[in-house]
Symmetry: D2
Subunit: 337 residues, 4 copies
């Protein structure tokens, strides 16, 4: 931590900061500049970061030098985390295409979609049984019945599936069916939920909060990681900005930023970020080109009847065309798909 | 809902929209414009809003005419909701000053603060026993022991208290002690938690998600309201923007916007929005001038030792001075404080 | 400047940074931490800030300790700048109400408005002759004819006036009529224009770019200041955020932040920030309570016929009521209005 | 335009809106809904959009159905605009790689860079002679001398070049040297400058304002287009968001959005959006995959000595590697590069 003093700070203010550092077992390196003094605090990162430095007289601000997370950082583990689920792989030179309906609505809708995406080349099935809806009057999902259908589809089409979990009380239930759990964007900072999925022995997809910084997102991953679950997949799904032409602004730069800072795999959700069907295909192509480890795409056999997010679902035929393009790009980039 | 067709849309596309509206029991009003057709959809608001109109061929966009919430709107209830808790009142011409420590740390810290804010004129005590911390390594609160201390302080200083609840499994516990429950900014869209507090017979403070629009915030209030709990107090606490000089950007305009759209009381949190002690007093003054029904302010007897958010806590003496200014302003604005 | 090295940086990387600092005549203070080295760069602020530190091998980031501006900072001049224009004053315990039509449309419209706001207590007249319009097809203002009408209104009602200047080629013209020049929000970073108004001997209102940080805004003021014009008034007029209930989000916290960092007066524009008539009065009240040195408000005798921004203009009668409230608040706050 | 009335609006309010529409030569289509009336306004788009509808009693809001721009829309011109400059082409199945130094610093720096990027496959040279700097104390560019050096480099390496113009008074000068003019992000809404470049017979690169919506950006293009200059290239260079891990957030979705709405070519600037060297290569790959018509990349022979934006400049060798990857991707996507 760098503690920047105010230009009018007196020696006694500096002394107090130094004493506080000593009291918590840390060292102070003092630099006296042209117009102000700067104190480098050396010692236990977490202890230092939790002091309210700015509440001390004469302190202007405190600039952290270290990130608040540790286990998910590339400094802690230089090599990429690679995750295997059934026959599928995420990371390690393998681009993982995940696809399926946003919400499971019926056996027929799920099976038609699962068959189509499997044949087109998807390796992991998506489909939610619990939906977090902005309005209390909207369709909330099929609950356990949806999970049972997903388990049958897994059997039928030999694909592991990912499903969202919304409530700490439902983690056990969802984990008893799903191969991968997903934490949605609205729950990224729901620490009670993060702790629960951290205790489960299944991979977790952690969607970025649409208003979370990359640091906050990695911190949320740390919550899961420190509980013992090390198989975390980060999902970039767009952030909230002033632009309204898309539902959210896909922060594609987050992929190389994360690759630099963390060893965790990161995938792109072009469906929920854009909210518009005709944008999904170009954004999915960008995902592989920028270095993501996979994508997760909404597909629906009849989007105009979908109960959730029909505006953004690809038709099975559109997904098939997309997968053709993805295979060309994977070859050009020397990746397996 | 207004359904705007694409300029190239054909009669058959228009017909399909009209048929869909008929199928869900709604009427279509068609306006043929210079370059495109626009269809007014008349009928049940919720049914119409849940159709994926943009997924239909030839549809450019669908513009909602009605808001998604109903019970919390001023159209549903024209007169202001006024909330009484013990001797305190929120709304109805009474400005409610709420103050206390961000987190309960010890009996001494809590009681010193409670006594000071009570003497200065605060009518409701704040103090949290459960803290949602960005880092898993930070202080997480005293839990039930904190609630017990708060209940003792209530007795001693004759002030009802408000405390945060983080987890649906803890709603019953917190509600068994606290006079008012608080949903924090990170949980505004935690629908499992909103439903639980909606079943409790105690007022709820609903903090605005720091990335939530006013419409989303009112929608979250609707979640609580529809479960039967009608005593919801909205808390504006700043939104996330590009500006970093303050922790968040206090959206002071939200107060008159809400007053126009909803009958619920709305208060300001100048401490968490600004994150800086020297900004709290001017923002608290702005709160009463703009028409808020109260404020909630962090006070700490020794901010530089605070375990949570010490940077923003007022000293008891600063709070006392603030209350003097507030009384002058209340008189000028013809309000009771 | 604090230069933070990467955790893997070697001695040679550190040496190169130290050598570079020596080459530009600066000193290096080296702190070796647990996991990385941090270098404090001491010397000429501007020279240090212009080096591309992050382009050097082994450097993670460079954290500025000093602000990039100097003359407009409170460290350079501790006492408030107070500006006098004719009989009006801005700052120094005087709250300056400025009002008038957004755009000058006709003699009749201008004079009716000027008379009304003068009688209600405004001390400075606003009215623009050049309008920057988003669409090339919109009304662009009356140009010099508008300035002539404003000059006549000044004579008639004994009020100095402020008018916007859009183009460096028109600075001389506008300055030959107006008492105060205004730089609009879209031109805050138009450095060619800032330099020109910096050479004029008339006060300048500098609106915050709706996407500018406070630091960038103060930097723009520095551009004007360093050319020799020290009479700069900062105008907070809202920033662009994700919230669409208001045209922009009034950043009311910017007022106490600026008061802390700069000696320049700062006023609020509640009309352009909110874009809605019914929000103007509460936000104007908040302006004086938070510590602003004035406001600038749109008034129009017939808003529904206004050629620019009619949605936000107050009626003369509404402005009169507002001024009654402002006088009460000024008394409570011990200010002159 | 759709005019949405308030739920409490009376017949007389509706009548007044209808009368106003009649007065401006437009028609009204009235839909009476469950709780409110909606009026479709049919007639001249520009005339309707300029009325202050919300200032009329009983009107809640006015929702535009048509975009404010016309000539740059795909409805006006369905086929893509293709631009040829010397031997280079932008659009029409050709991906245009543009590269060079951010600022021209010296003959040697420019020529070394130009030679390297030409050999690696760039078709257009970038290099600025006028720089808009946030601080008045920073390097402002070599001015006309820089333009002369660029003209010599064009001759030597047979590459057209693009250079920024900052001031309406300098358009003629820059246009007398450069093959393509560029409007920078801070000037996107500098309408005086847009008008001037609209009169020039050279292509114009229009950078997106970092706080501009896509609609505002297309509107700015309309400003240039309507003056007679139809060769406008849109440059996506990132928008300002809350994320600080990158200088700005590259809005990659803007590319397919623009392709849908406009016939103008659109390119990506991965250097200025990210501000970090190691992010440039992955983002450049994403640019071609998402469907952009080119990129513009900063290259510098010695970034750590660059006078402007050295943090983001690629080394010549890095650019060469990037171009190898781009050729593979172009082949996979069936594009010419």
């Amino acid at each position: 931590m760098i503690i920047v003093m105010k230009s009018w700070a007196e020696q006694e203010h500096i002394d107090k900061v130094v004493q506080r550092l000593a009291a918590i077992g840390c060292e102070a390196h003092i630099s006296v500049g042209q117009s102000r003094t700067v104190i480098g605090a050396i010692g236990d990162r977490e202890v230092i970061q939790q002091q309210p430095w700015r509440a001390m007289a004469g302190v202007e601000r405190a600039v952290p030098v270290e990130k608040p997370y540790k286990f998910v950082s590339r400094e802690f583990q230089p090599e990429d985390t690679v995750i295997k689920v059934g026959s599928a792989q995420i990371g390690g030179g393998v681009f993982a295409p995940m696809a399926g309906p946003c919400a499971v609505e019926s056996r027929d809708q799920l099976f038609r979609t699962a068959q189509a995406v499997r044949e087109a080349g998807a390796t992991i099935l998506r489909g939610d049984a619990f939906k977090p809806r902005t309005s209390p009057f909207s369709f909330q999902g099929l609950a356990e019945e949806g999970l049972q259908l997903l388990a049958e589809a897994r059997q039928e089409f030999d694909m592991p599936f990912v499903a969202e979990v919304l409530d700490p009380r439902e983690v056990e239930l969802v984990a008893s069916y799903a191969d991968i759990l997903r934490i949605g964007t609205r729950n990224m900072a729901n620490f009670a939920l993060l702790s629960e999925v951290g205790k489960v022995h299944k991979p977790v997809q952690l969607k970025r909060g649409f208003t979370a910084t990359i640091d906050e997102w990695l911190n949320a991953a740390e919550y899961i990681y420190k509980e013992g679950n090390h198989e975390v997949v980060l999902v970039e799904r767009g952030i909230r900005t002033f632009e309204t032409a898309t539902r959210n602004t896909l922060d594609i730069s987050a992929v190389p930023v994360i690759k630099h800072m963390s060893h965790l795999p990161v995938i792109i959700d072009p469906s929920h970020s854009s909210g518009r069907r005709h944008l999904v295909v170009p954004l999915a192509r960008a995902a592989i080109a920028v270095g993501a480890d996979g994508f997760i795409v909404d597909v629906h056999p009849a989007p105009e009847t979908a109960q959730v997010d029909g505006d953004q679902a690809l038709l099975p035929s559109e997904f098939e065309e997309l997968m053709d393009q993805m295979r060309n790009l994977a070859a050009a980039l020397d990746l397996t798909i």
